[in-house]
Amino acid sequence: MRVEKPDRIRALSAAGLLALALAAAFPAAPMPSARARGDGELQRLKDRIRSLEEAIAAEQAKRAGAVSPSPPPAVEEEVRESFHTSPWAQAEKPPGSTPKETIDGLLALAVKGDGSGLVAAIQKQLAAGDKGHEVLQDFLHALDKDPSLAKRLVGRYDLAFALLHPAMLQEEGWARMAHSYLSATRKTTRTVLRGYLYSFLPVFLEFHRGRFPDLEEALTAEILQLVQGGDKRLRLLFSAAESLGYFLPIDLVEKRLAQATDFQAHSALLLHLGARDDKDAVRVLKQFVSQNIRRYGGAVSQALVTLAKMSAPGVEQVFRELTWTKDAFTYSKAIRAYFAIPRHEGFAPEARRYLNSRVGFPEKRLFINQLRRVNPGILDELRQLAEQITSDEVREFLLK
């Protein structure tokens, strides 16, 4: 097993050495006299003034030019080799081999809230190779036995900030540790630390896309397994999957949507379908709306707004069907969702058609208020041709 020696750490060490060298050089230089200090200050101020004048001139020239920005150049991103974490995740020993006093020492730092001390201890273990990783796994399992301490570690601003450092400074070691922990706790998926990992890991992996393929694969496989198994943390699981660029099989999503009975589950599934934004998602959403329009009012409204935000083919067709119906209830819901996102003035006739329809005044009043917030341009258009509104009551409210 290898011990991680990231280039970055070497770079930092080099910077540290340079700083030390500079620090060592300065005291060796003769102390300037008061006169020399005065001359130095004079020169420094002159230099400063010159550079400020140049900067101001450049700023003013730039603003006077007011050129339109050129397209952003392509970003040169770091290209890094893949780092495989599976061998360790599979080979990790069962917990319990670390001496109690070592674990107690780490736990004591957590209890004390000594963020930098804890980070230093973790980094030391990360750098110590297999033995250090065993210690860290045991530490994580010990934290699992004390959920309040685990929550405190991440819930406290200063500690959380401190703990981000190992993940940023020793990425490979950290990925290895995370994978081993996920692997060892596969059967007890509800630990506090796992909850945090599900929040952090997808962001970490998304940033380092492709660099930790084993970990990505393990996480997506676990997400699939959990969703299949009926896990209720759908929002967390779907968000994690989306961050990894992974969409679960549509039939599984469809099945969970059909089984969902509470708003939380509906909401997570509908958000996920919106993120997919493909024809399968449109089909599932359309079906959900048509089957549940009088059953789950809030969820259906969310489904319709989700559809309205999508760009996948077939969306417009769905709205055409829903807004050319004799069912005033469906029509009202669909049109409100359709105008819940900004539309250009060309949609004013559609809005006017609704205001002249058989739908009741209270719904139309809500619709006009919604236009005020989301589509003021269309509202202006409707006001300009207010005589085309057939109902006095609606026209009056429109012009108010």
Binding site: I56, P73, A162
Partner: protein, 394 residues
């Protein structure tokens, strides 16, 4: 866009802090090493010193004016339309974490002009508030910025210093809010490493307090995290401003924790507060009475016997918030018989019942002395209830 943030509820604070961190990356103005100018004429030290001092002073004034001009150019309504801003904004719009990282890294490690570009970008985001919220809340962008903070703490410290200096006058900007969120955590993590930045932040806190304390809550959190106690005088402009009434409670609480110096400021405020600050004076009196109860004996009496009726009444009201001896019966009776509202009468009877039962019982016995109808009715009702209970027990 912010849905992703939900996943970070537990560590949301960290990430927000991180975003703040990233934002706060500013660079200290570089201190070029002094170098004697060979072109300068030599003169005798005695003759040169006054002239040199005057010249130095002129140059300092000029440099300060230019810095202010540059900072103002950076902040004015015109968002920068250069490549740097377009690049950064492009990554923001695309929620491109790695792209943002690379673009910011280049500028973080650069020179003052690069730091200026970053600051301009933050200010441009601030002007379109939705953008600054995205930058500081979207997990992909926050991660990128946190990574920079972790990898380049020295450069981050320098950028923070640059930003503090160049946003001093923009007291209400989100950038400043983020500075107060992030920097104390950063400095505490790197304890002892950036004393100049710590000093600069403390000076800035004092400056902001004197300017009226925008983001006072954040300032106070920063003070707590830095274990910094600014001079009491720096808080007085807020306390004496009628427009800042909503902040008075926080300032008074702080002063009450500042020992003698804070207490003197509160005492002075009560005497000089005036009608416009009556509500805040009342809050100040509560702190005084609480301090009295906590061991600073004799403080409260001065105000419960004050010649100004409004001060006397408010002080007496809080005075009975603590246990009192039967000797204070007349004072309680006097309060009930003074021109106080029915609500205040009811509240003080409740306080006496809880904290000073002897006085309460005596009031029940001598309820005839109470002139206020509502208070009298309450006491008589209590007396009747007590009598009934005594009868039942008998």
């Amino acid at each position: 866009m912010h849905e992703r943030c939900d996943r970070f509820k537990t560590i949301g604070a960290i990430f927000t802090a991180a975003a703040l961190l990233a934002l706060t990356a500013g660079s200290c103005s570089r201190k070029t090493p002094p170098s004697a100018s060979p072109s300068q004429e030599e003169a005798s030290p005695a003759a040169k010193e006054p002239a040199e001092t005057a010249e130095l002073e002129q140059l300092r004034v000029r440099a300060a004016a230019l810095e202010a001009q540059l900072a103002s150019l950076a902040d004015k309504n015109t968002p920068p339309a250069d490549d740097a801003s377009a690049v950064l904004m492009g990554h923001l719009d695309n929620l491109n974490g790695p792209g943002m990282y690379t673009a910011m890294e280049k500028r973080l490690l650069g020179e003052e002009k690069d730091h200026r570009e970053l600051l301009q970008f933050f200010i441009a985001c601030d002007q379109e508030h939705e953008k600054i919220l995205t930058l500081t809340h979207d997990s992909r962008l926050v991660f990128a910025m946190l990574r920079l903070v972790a990898l380049y703490p020295g450069e981050t410290a320098a950028l923070c210093a640059y930003m503090i200096r160049n946003t001093r006058e923009q007291t209400g900007s989100f950038v400043r809010r983020e500075i107060y969120n992030f920097l104390p955590v950063f400095l505490n993590y790197h304890r002892g490493k950036y004393p100049e930045l710590r000093r600069l932040l403390k000076e800035d806190i004092v400056f902001q307090l004197q300017k009226g304390g925008d983001y006072l809550y954040k300032l106070m959190l920063a003070m707590r995290d830095l274990q910094f106690r600014p001079p009491v005088d720096s808080m007085l402009p807020i306390l004496y401003s009628e427009e800042k009434r909503s902040l008075h409670g926080a300032v008074l609480s702080h002063l009450a924790s500042r020992g003698d110096e804070g207490l003197q400021a509160i005492l002075k405020f009560v005497e000089e507060g005036g009608d416009g600050l009556q509500q805040s004076v009342s809050q100040a009196l509560k702190h005084i009475v609480d301090l009295d109860a906590a061991g600073r004996k004799g403080l409260a009496l001065r105000f419960v016997e004050h010649q100004e009726p409004a001060i006397r009444k408010a002080a007496t009201f809080y005075y009975f918030g603590h246990p009192r001896e039967p000797a204070d019966f007349e004072r309680a009776l006097g309060y009930l018989n003074s021109e106080v509202t029915v609500a205040q009468q009811t509240l003080i009877i409740g306080k006496l019942k809880r904290n000073s039962p002897a006085i309460y019982q005596q009031l029940i016995k001598e309820s005839g002395k109470v002139r206020a109808e509502k208070a009298k009715a309450i006491l008589e009702k209590a007396a009747a209830r007590a009598k009934k209970e005594a009868g039942n027990e008998g």
